[in-house]
């Protein structure tokens, strides 16, 4: 009886010592079994010689995460929120003219009131405060009222300042000079770019994108 069923195990060295000896003894006398054994050996070698397929990408899951990644996402999220807030704030500020410069120009001396009065024609706010929205572009309501005065005085004035201040007649050139005189001393602000809404908008978008990307990386682990 041919031990065909044991030939593969014999080939692989998986038989017990007794079974191996028995098969060996049979092989010594049986050409057919030797043939079958050689065929199985050749088949096993062919299988072992198959070309190794290669994956198209890395299959190792990225389970290790840099320690700084999670804090980076937290920082990016808060930075994006802060940038959005600053964007909105700077956008609001940008809609108002320079109230500060008009306020500082009108406050120091009474005889300098004419300058704001005159400069209000050019668009600065009255010392009393937030009437600048009227003068950033000529507003119809107060303008006609003061226009009459201006026609005589050549200086459209804010309502609070026109009372008893008629010595602004013929002052436009002086007022302009006074305006220039009052405005030029103010030094250029090197940080004026920080008031740009576009700056904060770009930063908000950038930090939001960074937070999103880092979050995806963390979730992929």
């Amino acid at each position: 009886m041919h031990p065909f069923g044991d030939l593969s195990a014999y080939l692989d060295g998986a038989l017990s010592s007794e079974a191996r000896a028995s098969v060996q003894a049979h092989l010594d006398t049986c050409a057919l079994c030797r043939t079958r054994l050689a065929e199985l050996r050749g088949t096993a070698r062919l299988i072992a010689a198959l070309p190794m397929p290669v994956p198209s990408r890395s299959l190792v899951p990225r389970v290790s995460v840099p320690v700084w990644l999670a804090p980076l996402r937290t920082f990016s999220t808060f930075a994006s929120g802060a940038a959005i807030f600053l964007f909105l704030a700077s956008a609001v500020i940008a809609t108002f003219p320079r109230a500060q410069s008009a306020a500082t120009a009108g406050a120091p001396a009474p005889n300098a009131v004419s300058a704001p009065q005159a400069s209000s024609a050019g668009g600065s706010a009255a010392p009393s405060g937030f009437q600048g929205f009227q003068v950033s572009s000529p507003s119809p309501a107060p303008a006609p009222a003061v226009a009459d005065k201006a026609a005589s005085s050549a200086t459209p004035a804010a309502s609070a300042n026109e009372i008893g201040r008629q010595d602004s007649v013929g002052v436009p050139s002086n007022a302009a000079a006074a305006t220039r005189e009052n405005s030029t001393p103010e030094p250029a602000n090197p940080f004026a770019f920080l008031l740009s809404p576009w700056l904060w908008l770009v930063l908000a978008i950038g930090f939001a994108a960074l937070s999103f990307a880092v979050g995806r990386r963390l979730r992929s682990t």
């Binding site: 069923g5 057919l32 050996r41 072992a48």
Partner: protein, 197 residues
């Protein structure tokens, strides 16, 4: 035939068990290609990448509960089980029906060579023969294919294959023999002549 994980890998294994992600990645990197080779032969290239990646991720998640000594055999078990599950759910490729399972392996028939041709034992470097073997492997039953690949390609011992496939050693022996015989028969049917012994 297969590279054994040495002492350095034992250190990595110990660290990976304790949650060291980088150590696990290093271990996975060492067996990534053999795992893919095995999955590709089992499933085909399309699903092999996903199968291996899912298996490695599953291995990482259950790393703390790994108690054996052979990380390689453990991960191969995960990949083999996933591949067999996918094949069962796929069921798109009817496998070549062999003769009905028999209790006696000696009753499995041996195809006879029909004409002269290259010796089977000399075909190792023959590209055409390798293509025939690739086709033949795809045609035999999945459990025989798994056992044959684990033995002849990956070099696992019968005991390890029994652990990987969750079967008895006798079953492993039977599957390997039947699988080899089936491939041999297909080669013979394509005109190859067996060795004269």
């Amino acid at each position: 035939m297969r590279p054994e994980l040495g002492g350095a890998s034992d250190v990595l294994l110990d660290r990976a068990r304790r949650g060291d992600a980088r150590a696990f990645e290093q271990l996975a990197l060492e067996i990534e290609r053999p795992l893919y080779r095995h999955a590709a032969r089992m499933l085909g290239h399309d699903d092999a990448e996903d199968c291996v990646q899912d298996a490695l991720l599953s291995a990482w998640k259950s790393m703390a509960s790994f108690e054996g000594t052979s990380f390689r055999a453990w991960v191969f078990r995960i990949v083999t089980n996933r591949a067999l599950d996918r094949l069962r759910s796929r069921k798109r490729r009817p496998e070549l029906p062999l003769e009905p399972p028999s209790e006696n392996d000696d009753s499995v028939s041996w195809a006879e060579p029909i004409a002269t041709g290259p010796e089977l034992a000399d075909l190792a470097a023959d590209r055409e023969a390798l293509l025939v073997v690739e086709d033949a492997l795809a045609m035999i039953p999945a459990d025989q294919r798994a056992a044959l690949l684990l033995r002849d390609v990956e070099g696992f011992a019968y005991e390890e294959i029994a652990t990987i496939t969750s079967t008895e050693i006798g079953t492993v022996k039977s599957r390997i023999h039947r699988g080899r015989l089936a491939v041999r028969n297909i080669l013979i049917s394509r005109g190859w002549k067996g060795s004269a012994g």
